[in-house]
């Protein structure tokens, strides 16, 4: 085949990846718009190992070449992820777009990646030499920079099975279908015996990578709802001070206001 390799197994894909200078191709919805010239593609759409969704006690494992449409039809995929994915573009894009491609593009606008950030997901990366696990926030080294070797492929996203039941998800865009997020927000909340055990908040599309401030979140852990309420304004102020947004098509000031409002709504939703 001219300018391309079709892998039919993961092992074959990894051999080709290691021995040729190829661009992995999953659904093509980012690559074909980019329209890079003079490249060779490694087609992953026939690699069955990358197309599975499985679950163990701890994690739901979504294969890198699973499409958004396939994930929406799978009972193991957490509702929070489904909500985000169901609002990606339109059917034809969801039929092609994959979790691996959403990650591989390195964009802070990637909607499934926002959910992976807020839920402390892990990624399984594979190469001929073996495999390694990375936390999703460590995988993003900066704008369009990924911790991915030239011989590696993303194999799976590991989403925690428990703890994602109580959430907020908001995507603020230009228009409904097809709009790439201007601001997106995901929050996950959990409390046990009246004390907060998780108050994760992640912001997409506003900086070079998804933003999440675990050190600020920690200040709510162990607090009762009433204690959290009392410190709410200071808590929001801590975020406002830390958040530095990149300038985009829409003013940074406006988007920061939207972020702060979404964060406030998230706290309010869970009684804070």
């Amino acid at each position: 085949m001219v300018n391309g390799y079709i892998a039919t197994s993961l092992q074959e894909a990894l051999e080709i990846r290691a021995s040729h200078d190829v661009v992995p191709y999953a659904g093509g919805t980012d690559l074909m718009v980019e329209n890079r010239q003079g490249v060779e593609y490694l087609f992953l759409n026939k690699v069955s190992e990358l197309k599975k969704i499985t679950a163990d006690d701890e994690y739901v494992r979504i294969g890198a070449a699973v499409t958004f449409t396939e994930a929406l039809a799978n009972a193991n995929v957490p509702q929070l992820m489904k909500e985000a994915v169901s609002r990606i573009a339109a059917p034809a894009i969801r039929n092609a777009g994959t979790f691996g491609g959403n990650l591989g593009n390195g964009s802070a606008k990637a909607d499934s990646v926002l959910i992976e950030f807020v839920s402390d997901a892990k990624l399984r990366l594979v190469s001929k030499k073996g495999e390694r696990m990375v936390d999703v926030d460590k995988f993003y080294l900066g704008r369009k920079k990924l911790d991915l070797g030239s011989d590696e492929l993303i194999a799976e996203v590991l989403l925690p099975k428990k703890g994602l039941e109580q959430y907020s998800y908001e995507k603020v865009g230009g228009r409904n279908a097809l709009a790439i997020s201007r601001v997106s927000f995901a929050g996950v909340f959990a409390a046990e015996n009246g004390r907060i055990t998780n108050a994760a908040a992640a912001f997409g599309a506003v900086a070079d990578t998804v933003l999440r401030y675990k050190d600020i979140e920690t200040t709510l852990i162990g607090k009762t709802i009433d204690e959290a309420k009392a410190m709410k304004e200071d808590y929001l102020k801590a975020y406002a001070e830390r958040m530095v947004l990149t300038r985009g098509r829409v003013s940074a000031e406006y988007r920061k206001n939207v972020c702060m409002n979404l964060l406030r709504d998230f706290l309010t939703k869970f009684g804070i």
């Binding site: 085949m1 001219v2 300018n3 391309g4 390799y5 079709i6 191709y25 659904g27 093509g28 919805t29 690559l31 074909m32 718009v33 329209n35 490249v39 060779e40 593609y41 087609f43 759409n45 026939k46 449409t69 573009a89 339109a90 059917p91 034809a92 894009i93 039929n95 092609a96 409904n176 279908a177 097809l178």
Partner: protein, 157 residues
């Protein structure tokens, strides 16, 4: 040399060009399937919609290497079916076609929707067609046409 083999509207074909070529361009230029329109090459407009193994995809966002072994259906093939006849009638009766540029994509999006969901609600029809832009009709006539086709073509989907 290894060609890319796939079926196009039921016929087996072999493409000898680059695996990185756009399916949209190949369908129009090599196979003269000119029902497949180019409105943006960015996945935004749906004018280039085709069915690949029954799934709706934007052919501008598909590289040729990805269709190896697949079945590609364009309006040139779909128009031979009874389902097309039902959609054609409904679109005609409701004057859902003006310039026609978006219509091949709209009809294939409707087919993809109805084959999964034979009795869609109005919201589901709008969602099913949400990736297909139309500059002329204002959409309502198209949505009503799909609704009528679903009702009158009862049993076809």
């Amino acid at each position: 040399m290894n060609e890319i083999r796939f079926t196009l509207n039921g016929k087996e074909v072999a493409y000898a060009g680059s695996a990185t070529d756009r399916l949209l361009d190949v369908l129009r230029n090599e196979y003269r399937c000119t029902s497949v329109k180019c409105g943006c090459k960015e996945g935004e407009c749906g004018a280039c919609s085709v069915l690949i193994d029954g799934t709706l995809l934007n052919s501008c966002c598909v590289a040729m290497g990805a269709v190896e072994g697949a079945s590609v259906v364009t309006m040139e093939g779909f128009r031979e079916t009874k389902r097309f006849a039902a959609l054609d009638k409904a679109f005609g009766e409701l004057s859902a076609v003006q310039c026609g540029f978006c219509i091949p994509g709209m009809v294939l999006a409707a087919e993809a929707l109805l084959s999964r969901n034979p009795h869609p609600s109005e919201d589901e029809i709008r969602e099913g067609l949400s990736g297909n832009l139309c500059r002329c009709t204002g959409y309502n006539a198209i949505v009503n046409a799909v609704n009528n086709a679903a009702k009158e073509g009862n049993g076809l989907w």
